[in-house]
């Protein structure tokens, strides 16, 4: 995976967590969900891209699904729960 793509992902993740820390009030377990979800998503992206480079398209798709799907669910819970709470409070 190219350095440029990792740099881009780093910036996106950095901005995401900066906004979460400053604009949203996350409980400790929401932080855990968000961090775990982000790690799984990044792991899925690396495995997808690297498996494509290995000419293993089947493995690429499966690894994206196996690690990416739980990652998206966890990250969504971590970021959506506080957003819903904030909306409810308003």
């Amino acid at each position: 995976m190219s350095v440029t793509l990792w740099l881009f992902l780093g910036v996106v993740v950095g901005i995401g967590f900066f906004l979460a820390a400053t604009k949203m009030k996350l409980t400790w377990y929401e932080w855990v969900l968000a961090v775990l979800g982000t790690i799984l998503i990044l792991f899925a992206i690396q495995n997808y891209a690297a498996s494509q480079a290995e000419v293993e398209a089947r493995a690429a798709g499966m690894l994206l699904l196996i690690f990416g799907l739980p990652g998206v669910i966890l990250a969504a819970l971590g970021f959506v729960l506080p957003w819903m709470r904030a909306k409810k409070a308003v």
């Binding site: 792991f43 495995n47 498996s51 480079a53 290995e54 089947r58 493995a59 499966m62 690894l63």
Partner: protein, 460 residues
């Protein structure tokens, strides 16, 4: 230096000083003794151990006659009639498949393999003796500590094209028994007190003072093995053997210039038992398919060896959890079309036939069955190598997790095998390549189809 110098003289003297200062480290390097132990750079979860993970009863080990392997002794094990029938079958099958244009057996696949089988040096026991000796160059032979020698030979071999390099010291009652008693061409392999090696009509003589074996691997293409068993895939095996011939040639001349002997393989797989030396040198562990399985490249290596009188620091055997993994993984045996590989959970002492060398615990295979299948498909099979869960390029970080778990948590072995099945092994029908051989031609693979940075990037 004179007290009063002209500008010209000053610059001349400065030049001399500069030359001495810049050459000093070079002059010292040959003499400097290093106590730093030499070892192969690896991730920390790969442990060096005193005894190999394969149990060996050295009292039972005898020097082996290479002509008893199924490579040379096949006719002895199957009989001339069966061999004739197999040869006829091979010829008719392959002609039919060539005419049909069967993927992996097309004319261009034959062309690829024939091309890959060329471009190599002639193999020789004592080497071609082409390079300068220290005497020719007007200097004494290289001297240094065994650790420095191992580091130097390892660096040179990597530059020549080897993947991993290890060293074994020959002990009369143990490791010396891994040298063949008879070479593939029927010549007796003598080990005697002598100053120089010799080769006669019916013998080769290894001087007793040549007590070190250099064991090294040459990488093969994991991607190409996805197309086994076909003529097209075989190119990576053919090329690994040819590259190894060139590497041996270079190593022999390298050692000659240093002032030492390099006694190489006189023909393919000669001199000694390659996987056994590699296990003792810590290049990997013995696997269920009864070949070397390495932590860096999995099954994607061929293994070679050379005997020398240059004192080398031996490298230790390793435990990377590979043999243990094989106990819970029967993938190579599951996919073996000839059913030549064992399904037993534990390795065993009893050999399957004369083609195996007794004295160690292994999953001994039925070699004639394996080789018979080669005749059926008209090429080396390679399925056991190709489906191994460690036969990957390891770019995807999942493989690092797999390798770590395999080395540290035995409970995961079965699960890891199932995940590998799901990801990489769609075809379970016997003898069917995992990928369509026509697709190989569309891949944009690197040189030789291998990644030469793998073992450099993945070290602690």
């Amino acid at each position: 230096m004179p007290e009063n110098l002209t500008r010209r003289e000053f610059i001349k003297e400065l030049g001399k000083f500069g030359a001495v200062a810049s050459l000093a480290p070079l002059a010292l390097s040959g003499e400097q003794m290093s106590d730093k132990p030499f070892s192969i750079k690896r991730p920390s979860f790969i442990k060096e151990v005193d005894e190999p993970t394969t149990e060996v009863d050295w009292d039972q080990v005898k020097r082996y006659n290479e002509t008893n392997t199924s490579r040379r002794g096949f006719v002895k094990y199957v009989g001339q009639d069966r061999l004739d029938k197999l040869t006829e079958l091979r010829n008719s099958n392959t002609l039919k498949w060539r005419k049909e244009g069967r993927p992996g057996y097309t004319l261009k696949d034959y062309a690829l393999n024939n091309g890959a089988s060329e471009g190599y040096s002639a193999m020789s026991f004592i080497g071609n003796q082409n390079s300068d000796t220290p005497e020719d160059l007007g200097v004494p032979p290289w001297t240094g500590s065994p650790e420095d020698a191992s580091a130097m030979v390892s660096a040179a071999l990597r530059a020549f094209g080897a993947a991993t390099v290890g060293f074994v010291e020959l002990e009369t009652n143990t490791t010396e028994k891994l040298l063949y008693s008879v070479d593939p061409d029927g010549k007796e392999m003598r080990i005697e007190d002598a100053d120089q090696p010799e080769e006669g009509e019916d013998y080769r003589l290894i001087p007793k003072k040549a007590r070190w074996v250099v064991s090294y691997t040459v990488q093969m293409s994991a991607e190409s093995f996805r197309y086994a068993p076909t003529v097209g895939y075989t190119q990576t095996t053919s090329m690994a053997y040819r590259r190894a011939r060139n590497i041996q040639d270079r190593l022999q001349n390298f050692l000659r210039t240093l002032g030492y002997m390099g006694l190489g393989e006189s023909s393919t797989n000669a001199t000694g038992i390659a996987p056994a030396f590699a296990v003792m040198a810590g290049l990997g562990e013995l696997s269920r398919y009864n070949r070397l399985l390495t932590p860096e490249y999995g099954s994607m290596v061929r293994v070679f060896k050379l005997v020398t009188d240059l004192p080398l620091a031996p490298t230790k055997p390793i435990n990377a959890g590979l043999l243990k993994f094989c106990k819970n993984c029967t993938k190579c045996a599951d996919h073996c079309p000839s059913k030549a590989l064992s399904f037993e959970k534990e390795p065993y002492w009893d050999v399957k036939g004369e083609w195996n060398n007794p004295g160690h615990k292994a999953w001994f295979e039925d070699s004639p069955k394996c080789r018979s299948y080669w005749y059926e498909v008209g090429t080396g099979c390679g399925i056991c190598f190709g489906v191994c869960p460690f036969a990957h390029n390891n770019l995807a970080s999942y493989h690092n997790v797999q390798n770590y778990l395999a080395a540290t948590i035995p409970g995961f072995d079965g699960t890891l095998k199932k995940i590998d099945d799901l990801l990489y092994t769609p075809n379970t029908e016997f003898g069917v390549p995992q990928k369509n051989p026509s697709d190989w031609w569309k891949n944009n693979l690197p040189e030789y189809g291998i990644d030469t940075m793998r073992s450099v990037n993945k070290t602690s």
